[in-house]
Amino acid sequence: MLELTLNKITKKYGRKIAVDHVSYEFRKGVYGLLGENGAGKTTLLRMICGLLEPSDGEIRCSGDSVDRMGAQYRRLLGYLPQEFGYYPEFTARKFLLYMAALKAIPKELAVEKAEELLKLVGLEQEQNSRLKTFSGGMIRRLGIAQALLNDPEILVLDEPTSGLDPKERIRFRNIISELSRDRIILLSTHIVSDVEYIADEILLMKGGELIKTGSMEWLAAQVRGRVWDCCVRPEETENYQAHYSVSNLRNTDHGVRLRIVAEECPGPGAKPVDPDLEDVYLYYFREV
């Protein structure tokens, strides 16, 4: 059974601690890593992929240290970096074949796999176009395709949906859901809706630490009774925003409808409502 274990992983850059004693055990499933910019998500993912050496702690894959596994670990890995580079003179097909060669996939299989993945991400028509002619969204889709080339057992995606339009986002979510049956998928994002529907476990990261982990339902249960819906006069809106974390604001005929995350009832007429992941996020990441 595939297991990826983080054992007190720490990364320091001089005095700054980017990742602080993170311990976690990943088994098969989709894990959503949520956090603000600068929370340490990318640093953590880079350490998981063996790109950055932890200052302290250890990462183990099914009991073996990934440092010692070296290339054998890398061949289990599919990775999409946040800043996805490419060679502009390559065509989409050539790029995938190049990546397949680096992933030690036999050529015949690579050709087959490249065609299959180009179709999956909707780039089969552009397979012979040079990458310098591609839009940001197309490059991102190609990035997702290359990460899947070796049918990875550990798939690490850093901000996979940035630059994708809503339709592409949905397509991506469906691809990830289909893949999630027999592998570890770890995706980092600050876009809550990316992980809300597909993640089995959500990991909230703040200041280099995992502050909360659990299923969507469990996290929502922690915040139940702390999310309120109320309708206020337009002139009161500013006051509410100054005192509470407002997760949604909508103008209606009767006034302004606010969705507030607060420990106590924010005012008369406010009713508790069921929290969603955005409320959970706001609850844990609000400025207190």
């Binding site: 061949r75 990546m99 992933k103 290359q146």
Partner: protein, 262 residues
């Protein structure tokens, strides 16, 4: 022998029943479960393809950019042209060394300059996460390029030595110094400069190295046999610096500093 009739079984029957008791007869259900387990393990087992070093080398050759071959070709053509011209003009050793040093400085730069392409295109992070990682790619490229450059330098030195009656080892030493030092300069830039993800440092360092390679001519007698020790010191220092920077570069790539920071 026991007697069955007297209420006792015979010795042979005793042995047989004993053996029967020791024979492991698997229960059908347990056996089915075990077989399913084995079958599952077989299906889970990934068949891994491990390319041979030759195959790795061929993969590397296949994806070397056209610009690399073009630049290597340009150097080769230039060297052959200058070699023929100097020979036809019956030039002296200084004439060979004048352009030979500049060409050697440029060749040295190309030997390790492949890394810059990966850095400039932002591909290092992705490539380092693959089975054949960045370090291996770069090493193979350096070996390939280095061997080609050394072959060119050897031919060049051989022709110059033949035509000028100067010892081959001496000419090779004069040419190896700019070759190694330009290599080291480039690695110093890569390991210490910020903003190294730019496309043109190679050209800048190449131009500087080229000019530097021409400066020994300003010192009279520097190419004389009496000053060979200076060249030996320069070569030893250059090799030391090159190896030390190469190790530093390797360490920075392995630790991720070079891949993830600009």
């Amino acid at each position: 022998m026991h007697d069955r009739k007297n209420g006792r079984i015979s010795k042979s029957e005793d042995v047989l029943s004993g053996l029967e008791a020791w024979r492991i007869l698997p229960e059908a259900e347990k056996r089915q479960k075990a077989m399913e387990g084995i079958d599952r393990k077989i299906r889970e087992k990934r068949i891994m393809y491990s390319p041979s070093p030759v195959r790795l080398f061929l993969i590397q050759l296949q994806y070397i950019p056209f610009a690399f071959w073009l630049s290597q070709g340009a150097v080769l053509v230039s060297v052959v042209f200058l070699l023929c011209r100097t020979t036809l003009q019956q030039g002296g050793v200084m004439d060979y060394l004048w352009w030979g040093s500049v060409a050697a400085a440029w060749m040295g730069l190309m030997a390790c300059g492949g890394l810059n392409r990966h850095l400039a295109r932002g591909m290092v992070e992705l490539e380092q996460s693959c089975y054949i990682n960045m370090l291996q790619l770069w090493t193979m490229r350096m070996i390939l390029s280095g061997c080609m450059d050394m072959a060119i330098l050897c031919v060049c030195s051989g022709v110059a030595a033949w035509n000028t009656r100067v010892r081959l080892v001496r000419i090779l030493l004069y040419l190896l110094v700019p070759f190694v030092l330009s290599n080291a300069c480039y690695l110093i830039f890569l390991t210490s400069a910020r903003g190294r993800r730019t496309q043109y440092p190679q050209i800048i360092i190449g131009a500087v190295s080229g000019v530097m390679a021409m400066t020994p001519r300003l010192f009279t007698g520097i190419y004389s046999p009496d000053c060979l020790w200076v060249w030996l010191i320069l070569l030893t220092g250059g090799v030391y610096l090159w190896v030390e920077r190469l190790r530093c570069c390797r360490r920075k790539i392995a630790r991720g500093e070079m891949l993830c920071w600009n």
